[in-house]
């Protein structure tokens, strides 16, 4: 019925309803110190009317633009406007609320802020999906978004917020754990590629090996992460104690080694499985042609099967990278470091902001990795088409 005019986007209506409902819930929380529960403050009470009104207008205007069906660029503009308004409200609220209270007081974003943030980001994602930008354009957008995030965080506009105060108190530890987290995620990916890729190539050629390895690897994958990390402790502790020289390399039951090993084990299935699937994806006609040209099996593998299977192999690496960035959080429980350290410290101290300090960078990292890998997969997929 609506399809004749269709001036209003159905998801946009959902966003608007959810966004307005979120505005009616507490936007920020004011607490006497970092541990106690705070009390919620509604968006229009966080600062004086002169400071709040522009932000509210921007948020509502952004949601309003999101209602439009037609030019997706306008919906994108709406999302950016709304996010700008959200940021404005946050900075105004943080300084204004803190000005009226004692020195241990903490302000943090509350339900209303988080829901609005999610709604506006979904509006942005929905508009971008409709615009279907090319891979390089998506990369440029990602860089712009991350750049904006870095500028906002670096400018100190948010330094009154509780999470940023937690950060300020431990910026050295944060940098160290960030490096550790990246080392765990990317290091285990590299190790899994070094082990898994040759294994996948051999399994592609030998059916017997294929049917033996893949089920074992998929069973490994089902073992819950905490159990896997835990089971690595006695095993690596034993290796560290008995194998000469292992201890000198830093192999021990606690810390980096068991976390790293567990991550490598989890990574093998996507690497091996997708290598096998990718190499098998070459169309029979292409293989026939290669054979007709007199290529040896080795040449066929390098020049035909590998280039054609690259998107699928890279998809495997995407799965591994996103999965390992998330799983590396568990390393925090067994002394392996990473952002998980803050998450579990925060859970122990019931300090919400410390949990956020660990969880938010992990989420941003995982999302960024997923988007970058998607772009790479699309780029490799494009190549064979252009060649023809």
């Amino acid at each position: 019925m609506k399809s004749t005019g269709a001036a209003i986007s159905a998801p946009g209506l959902l966003f608007a309803v959810a966004g307005v409902a979120a505005l009616l819930t507490p936007f920020m929380t004011l607490a006497a110190n970092r541990i106690v529960a705070g009390e919620g403050v509604l968006a229009w009470n966080i600062a004086g009317p002169a400071a709040v009104t522009p932000g509210l207008i921007a948020v509502l205007g952004g949601l309003g633009l999101g209602l439009l069906q037609r030019p997706a660029s306008l919906r994108l503009g709406g999302a950016v406007l709304g996010l700008g308004g959200l940021l404005w409200l946050l900075t105004q609220g943080a300084s204004c609320l803190l000005a009226e209270t004692g020195e241990y007081a903490r302000v943090s974003p509350a339900v209303g802020f988080w829901v609005l943030l999610v709604v506006l980001m979904l509006l942005m994602a929905d508009a971008l999906t409709a615009m279907a930008p090319k891979p390089l354009m998506r990369g440029a957008i990602l860089v712009a978004v991350l750049g904006a995030l870095a500028i906002i965080l670096g400018s100190g506009a948010l330094s009154d917020l509780s999470v940023m105060q937690e950060y300020a108190g431990r910026s050295d530890a944060f940098a160290r754990e960030a490096v550790r987290h990246l080392g765990l995620a990317f290091g285990s990916l590299a190790a899994a590629v070094v082990i898994g890729f040759p294994l996948g190539v051999v399994a592609h050629c030998r059916a017997a090996l294929r049917s033996a390895t893949l089920p074992v690897l998929s069973f490994l994958q089902t073992i819950p992460s905490l159990a896997m990390f835990g089971l690595m402790i006695p095993i690596l502790g034993w290796v560290g104690a008995t194998v000469p020289g292992a201890r000198a390399l830093g192999i021990a039951g606690i810390g980096f080694a068991p976390a790293f090993t567990a991550l490598v084990l989890y990574s093998l299935l996507p690497v091996v499985g997708n290598t096998v699937a990718g190499l098998a994806a070459a169309p029979p006609a292409a293989l026939e042609a290669a054979r007709g040209m007199g290529m040896t099996p080795g040449q066929r593998l390098l020049r035909v099967e590998l280039p054609l299977g690259l998107p699928i192999i890279l998809t495997g690496l995407r799965i591994v990278l996103v999965q390992n960035i998330g799983l590396a959080v568990i390393a925090g429980l067994i002394g392996g470091g990473g952002f998980g350290t803050f998450v579990f410290q925060g859970l122990n101290q019931t300090a919400t902001d410390l949990i956020l300090l660990g969880a938010l960078p992990t989420v941003v990292l995982a999302l960024t990795a997923a988007i970058v890998m998607d772009i790479l997969v699309d780029l490799t997929r494009r190549l064979p088409e252009d060649a023809t």
Partner: protein, 244 residues
């Protein structure tokens, strides 16, 4: 296959023994426990922890299945088509959220205990089920759909008698993925005071008692592997029945 028929009963018996009579394993675990420390976890029985772990996973997965399949049906109807690109974006991006982060973020909102774990398991479990159910409902063979329309089935009858049964195997795969993730995430739920087998592992980690870590890890690992295997068997049997 042949290895499976031998290994499966052995693993089931091992799990049952571990959960029901953990003291049988005391000599095995003793060298790993700190000298003089407890060998077998006794603050709660492994059986009660297992039951509460499985109940948590079952409740979350059942709720996630109902909601995710309902949403998948809505999105694949003509009236809900406008939401399909959005739902795809949400599932793609949502699955990049680490389950642990979802769990940790649920705590500030819901406090400690089984509540945040249940919500995190439910929310995260929605995604694979929804994704697979949509795949199942949108990749139906056109000839079958045409035939269903031809014999005069209305839209509801087509949905119940043709589309949902045909989409069942793919949907089940999604449910399996979701259950496996839920089993693992529930284990971590012990860090937020949910009663699961993770409690044993974490107690072991905190007191440097590798015997605890190993018995908890073995029990959870065996549950996960056996449940995964059982669901694969069900899917296979179903696929065979529909194929022949």
């Amino acid at each position: 296959m042949k290895i499976g028929t031998v290994l499966r009963p052995v693993l089931v018996l091992l799990l049952l023994a571990l959960v029901l009579r953990p003291q049988w394993f005391a000599p095995l675990f003793a060298p790993l426990a700190p000298s003089g420390g407890p060998v077998i976890y006794e603050r709660a029985s492994l059986l009660s922890l297992s039951l509460s772990h499985l109940a948590l996973v079952a409740a979350a997965s059942a709720a996630a299945t109902v909601v995710a399949v309902t949403l998948a049906i809505l999105v694949t109807r003509p009236a809900g088509a406008a939401f399909r690109p959005l739902s795809r974006t949400i599932t793609n991006m949502g699955q990049t959220f680490p389950p642990v982060a979802v769990l940790a973020l649920a705590v500030p909102a819901l406090g400690f205990g089984a509540g945040p774990t249940l919500v995190a398991l439910f929310l995260y479990g929605l995604l694979p089920i929804f994704e697979n159910a949509v795949t199942g409902l949108t990749t139906l063979p056109p000839a079958t759909m045409e035939a269903a329309r031809g014999i005069g089935l209305n839209r509801w009858q087509r949905l119940w008698r043709v589309e949902l049964p045909l989409a069942l195997p793919v949907t089940l795969t999604g449910i399996r993925l979701s259950v496996v993730i839920a089993l693992g995430t529930a284990t971590i739920g012990s860090t937020v005071a949910a009663r699961t087998l993770g409690e044993v592992i974490i107690a072991g980690l905190l007191t440097n008692n590798t015997a605890f870590v190993l018995q908890g890890g073995l029990a959870v690992g065996l549950f996960a592997v056996l449940i995964y295997d059982a669901m694969v068997q069900i899917e296979r049997r179903l696929a065979k029945r529909m194929g022949g």
